[in-house]
Symmetry: C2
Subunit: 316 residues, 2 copies
Amino acid sequence: MFVDFSETEKFLRNCKDAVIITHRSPDGDCIGAGFGLKDILEQLGVRSRVVCHDVFPARYSFLTENGAGEDFEPQSIIAVDIADVKLMGRYEEIYGGKVQLCIDHHISNKNYAEKTLLRADATAACEIIYDLAKYMGVTITKHCATCLYTGIATDSGCFKYDCTTPRAHEIAAEMMRKYDINFARINRYMFDVKSEGRMRLEGKIAELMELYLDGKLAIVAITQDMMKDMGVEIDELEGFAPITIQLETTEVGILMRQREDGVFKCSFRSANDVNVSEICQSIGGGGHAKAAGCTIDADLDSAKKMLIEAVERALN
Amino acid sequence: MFVDFSETEKFLRNCKDAVIITHRSPDGDCIGAGFGLKDILEQLGVRSRVVCHDVFPARYSFLTENGAGEDFEPQSIIAVDIADVKLMGRYEEIYGGKVQLCIDHHISNKNYAEKTLLRADATAACEIIYDLAKYMGVTITKHCATCLYTGIATDSGCFKYDCTTPRAHEIAAEMMRKYDINFARINRYMFDVKSEGRMRLEGKIAELMELYLDGKLAIVAITQDMMKDMGVEIDELEGFAPITIQLETTEVGILMRQREDGVFKCSFRSANDVNVSEICQSIGGGGHAKAAGCTIDADLDSAKKMLIEAVERALN
């Protein structure tokens, strides 16, 4: 059932011992939403814990450093930024069928929760949570504002992409004026700073990028072996997908990253009008019109072939 | 003399046949400010012309495509985003001593004009011009909003850097709501799209970057010969300087680009607290605390030595 702010407020004010589930391969938005909501629940006197299938990447330690919460048997089950229970990883089995509240901004949300606060026009789950907190009149701490700004900034590519709403800018302005967030440092760590390994890896992109379909499709494939050679972890490649659409001819870019289990995690980006969410849905994934993803369990050549064919169908 | 909005409005409403001077090596802010102000003057029935020592780079053609204005003997001389007449190039000799109005956001502004509207806390000259236009109650066209958004976005690194004001975000929100600007496409062309030559050049950065002073200083030097090898023009390297501070250890990054006359144009970036404007001032340049520049007329090795010594003095 889809619910509004009023219903969501009732739920949050009455919940107890909450677990907040974030999606696997966590990004700035789900981590920001999870830890931001944890702060808000604390203001309401509700203890909570943020969980994730994967370890939170070190670059988000400024959000997670106070800890994800003590261990307890949860009575309230909340999911943030999760369109589908499949994205919970090992938490799907434990909580997948019992989610009481989901706060999400993905149009592809499967409506799996008892109550879903969905705003598909929001830049980020964090944008919804900020407006919810204001609606509820709870105190927003500097740490909470930092979490929510990070989610909005990362999901919008620092206010660069189509999915950026006017509201995202207004919230950023409010956060700068009222909560004195250190936005430049956040953005430096989210968008600019990288390891020497990653910097060298970017140097390889020019060689690695393969163009297909008259240059309309660009693919960069990075295998486990290549990551080992470069001394880079898979999560350090998270912000990399936009690089695949940097050439003017490119309509669709795909970053293929091989996980340790051999499966390719494919991140799609659309430069202009191609809906990559539809392409990904056609091969078992999902996401947004301009940024979507899927996984392919196949060898490199077969995986590439499948991707090229899917994009070719979409372009025709 | 420094003036306020009221004095500036009086000047603009009474000016006639205006020339609007932008700085040499033009960037998004001075081009956006120049062409945005040209639109505003048109609303006031004043004809104007935008001039620049250099040709406006092709990537800004969406701002300049309606033309810079017909040729006439100007009666009103306006400078935008120019802190010092030296930055006018060949227009210094023609107009340097006769500027009637300067609209600028550089704290280092030399107060060379008859009237100067200076807001050193503004993200961009375009931020000032937007607020001025609202103050004056003139119609802001979609093209004007596109110009002014571009200046704010480019000078703030798409709302990423310290110099971003809450007001910049509020203006962006207003522009998206009221003027339907195509911000995602602007940002794609300003920040993401590049030529294959430039993409390959980025691939060289990993090799070219030299670290000094225990990694606190990073220098990337690109000579004319290297540009020729890569098939890239000097103005295509404009948005490149931030790459020099991408490593976590780096406090100061310098991009050295050799002009055709052999002189090195040095763009400084500060990652955190070092004031690079002061460093540049110590060697004849200027700018902002986090982004500044200077030129050095020397061979590559001597120029580098001078830069390293200047940064070392600042770090001590």
